[in-house]
């Protein structure tokens, strides 16, 4: 895995640019730990100041320094994406591997449920969820809900990998040479599954952050925890665009777009790396 990553950074421009973009975003989110102001304090600086040396990203109409506020927002947004990804990864891996290895009726039943979750329009359900929760809605609750709804696509992918691994020759060789199931899974199969899990994780983070931004912008979350979406929500509440406070909208949107493209590049280049044809070019037929 370590060698794979090093090769990817060295020889795949997409992967390298994805890593750079995300590193910038991550570094920026870490700045939040050094913020001179707590995230929810308002009117700590003069409002509506355009970007300048004193306030690199300007200030909001609520008297917040956008630079530091944004560092909190992107940190919460990234954490949200990672939380959803981790929980839904567990679900996707368990369901995908169980379906793929067991096959038969259990596989068909699980995949029927799986396809259902792929098809169902999640957005109205999340809105409904917010509607009944209202002020009880929190960042963590939303993450949990989205993880429970967002595992299906990846479970299908992992299942197909598991199915093909089960019938590969080296699995049988492993079984006949007396390896335990745990050994086969960890030593033989994990190296195949990991890159795919990595790629789906990037896609999943993209998906969950996208939905979170959308819900927050509409005000359908806890609007007191700063995230990128919540920032845009407040900017809209203060009609920032009409008032000409363009930086209040521009910087959050630009930052989240950089995040999306970075994650996407990682996922795409990893997919390319997994593609057996390009693998063949590296190791020979």
């Amino acid at each position: 895995m370590g060698r794979t990553l090093r090769d990817l950074v060295r020889f795949n421009r997409q992967f390298a640019s994805g890593v750079i973009l995300l590193a910038v975003v991550a570094a920026f989110s870490c700045l939040s730990f050094f913020s001179p102001y707590p995230p929810n304090d308002s009117f700590v600086v003069p409002p509506d100041v355009p970007p300048s040396w004193a306030y690199p990203m300007g200030t909001t109409s609520r008297g917040q320094d956008l630079f530091w506020l944004l560092s909190f927002a992107i940190r919460n947004t990234l954490l949200f994406g990672i939380t959803v990804a981790v929980i839904s990864r567990v679900l996707a891996l368990v369901i995908g591997l169980v379906a793929g290895y067991s096959g038969g009726l259990l596989d068909r039943a699980l995949m029927s449920i799986n396809d259902t979750f792929i098809v169902i329009p999640l957005f109205p359900i999340l809105v409904l969820f917010y509607f009944v929760m209202r002020e009880h809605m929190s960042w963590g609750l939303l993450a949990l809900m989205m993880a429970c709804l967002g595992w299906a696509y990846d479970a299908r992918l992992i299942r197909s990998v598991a199915m093909s691994l089960r019938t590969r020759e080296f699995t049988e060789t492993g079984i006949f040479s007396g390896m335990s199931t745990r050994q086969i899974l960890v030593e033989e199969h994990l190296p195949y599954v990991l890159p795919i899990v990595f790629s789906t994780t990037m896609n999943n983070i993209n998906w969950s952050i996208g939905l979170e931004v959308t819900l927050s912008v509409l005000g359908f979350t806890d609007i007191n925890t700063p995230t990128i979406g919540v920032l845009i929500y407040w900017a809209n509440q203060h009609t920032a665009l009409v008032a000409g406070i363009w930086w209040w909208i521009f910087f959050p949107v630009a930052l989240v777009v950089i995040t999306f493209i970075g994650l996407f590049l990682l996922a795409v280049s990893m997919n390319e790396h997994i593609d057996p044809r390009s693998r063949l070019g590296r190791t020979g037929p």
């Binding site: 169902i120 957005f123 409904l128 009944v132 952050i209 996208g210 509409l218 949107v253």
Partner: protein, 334 residues
């Protein structure tokens, strides 16, 4: 030779399962949470000014009846299904006494036409360009186009719609950015009305297309670059079959089969996008209705829209699934 009936039955079964699970999720979300929508509505109604306890009790009773929250959980569950089956979600609170079904019925044609037009456009264009890019790998124009399509693909619908709104609303205001047609215009299907409908739909369609295009493009491109190594394509090339014929009838034709399945799989996500896009551009469809229902605290309307969305999306998937055998003879007669 019983492939088709078996296929039909499994698809119908899957459709029933999607509706069943979807409606159950909606039921659990509304009934298993600690929050009581009745108390919430009462709180909202009594926020301004005092109301006598008798009036509140009366209100509570009638709201319970209205929301189908009478009796035990099992009674409520079956009452819920009865409502879904007959499509009756009671009157809307925010537009009292108009029934929820009437409001949804009014909004649905907008959403359906927006979805159908933008999805078909995006799907056809994305597959065409992606297919060409996969077949003519050396073309610089196609590579550049692919790069552009991919740049928009990872950005969520809301952000793309929002960026378009900024560009066409503030920087270069040439297109209408809100509504389904010009305000106060008579809906008489005259030319000016139709023209207004079309110009108002450009931005919503564009933002759905910008996000969607990259996915179909990349999917088709990688499918095609796999299919060109299939024996039947290599053989047709060895046979001197015309290149255009190979691309259309051999490569694209075979790649379309998984792309149709892909369309069925992503209808749900596209629907999510349409809801959000409508809201950004104030398009008078189900999405705008849903968001305003949330703001107005209209429980019946939010629930009604959610269930109708689930059923409508599953129906769309079923329709696409039923078209699938037309493309793939292996399903028709196995």
């Amino acid at each position: 030779m019983n492939g088709y009936p078996v296929y039909l039955l499994t698809r119908l079964g899957q459709f029933a399962l999607v509706v069943f699970i979807g409606i159950n999720i909606a039921f659990i979300v509304t009934h298993a949470t600690p929050i009581d929508p009745v108390e919430q509505s009462i709180a909202a109604a009594t926020q301004y000014g005092s109301t006598s306890p008798e009036a509140i009790a009366l209100m509570r009773q009638s709201l319970k009846e209205l929301y189908g929250l009478e009796g035990g959980p099992i009674d409520q569950y079956f009452a819920f299904w009865r409502r879904v089956a007959v499509g009756n979600f009671g009157p809307s609170l925010s537009a009292f006494p108009t029934p929820v079904s009437v409001l949804i019925g009014r909004a649905l044609p907008w959403t359906v036409s927006l979805l159908v037009v933008s999805t078909l456009l995006t799907w056809v264009l994305g597959n065409l360009l992606g297919g060409l890019a996969g077949y003519y790998r050396q073309s610089r124009t196609l590579r550049l186009g692919g790069l552009l399509a991919m740049a928009f693909h990872p950005i969520p619908y809301y952000i793309v719609a929002f960026m378009l709104l900024i560009v066409f609303g503030y920087l270069w205001p040439v297109l209408p950015i809100s509504g389904g047609y010009k305000m106060n215009m008579p809906r008489d299907w005259s030319w000016p009305f139709i023209a207004s409908l079309l110009t108002h739909s450009i931005l919503p369609i564009l933002s759905l297309a910008l996000v969607g295009l990259g996915g179909w493009f990349m999917g088709m491109r990688s499918l095609v670059s796999n299919i060109v190594t299939e024996d039947y394509v290599v053989y047709a090339e060895l046979g001197g079959v015309e290149r255009r014929r190979i691309l259309a009838s051999y490569v694209m034709r075979n790649a379309l089969v998984p792309q149709v399945t892909g369309l069925a799989m992503s209808i749900g996500a596209i629907f999510n996008g349409a809801i959000i896009t409508e809201q950004v551009f104030g398009y008078p469809g189900v999405g705008t209705l849903l968001v305003s229902a949330v703001y107005a605290g209209d429980y019946s309307l939010v629930l009604g829209i959610t269930t109708v969305s689930i059923v409508a999306v599953s129906l769309a998937v079923l329709l696409i699934d039923l078209l699938h055998p037309l493309l793939d003879p292996r399903v028709r007669a196995r």
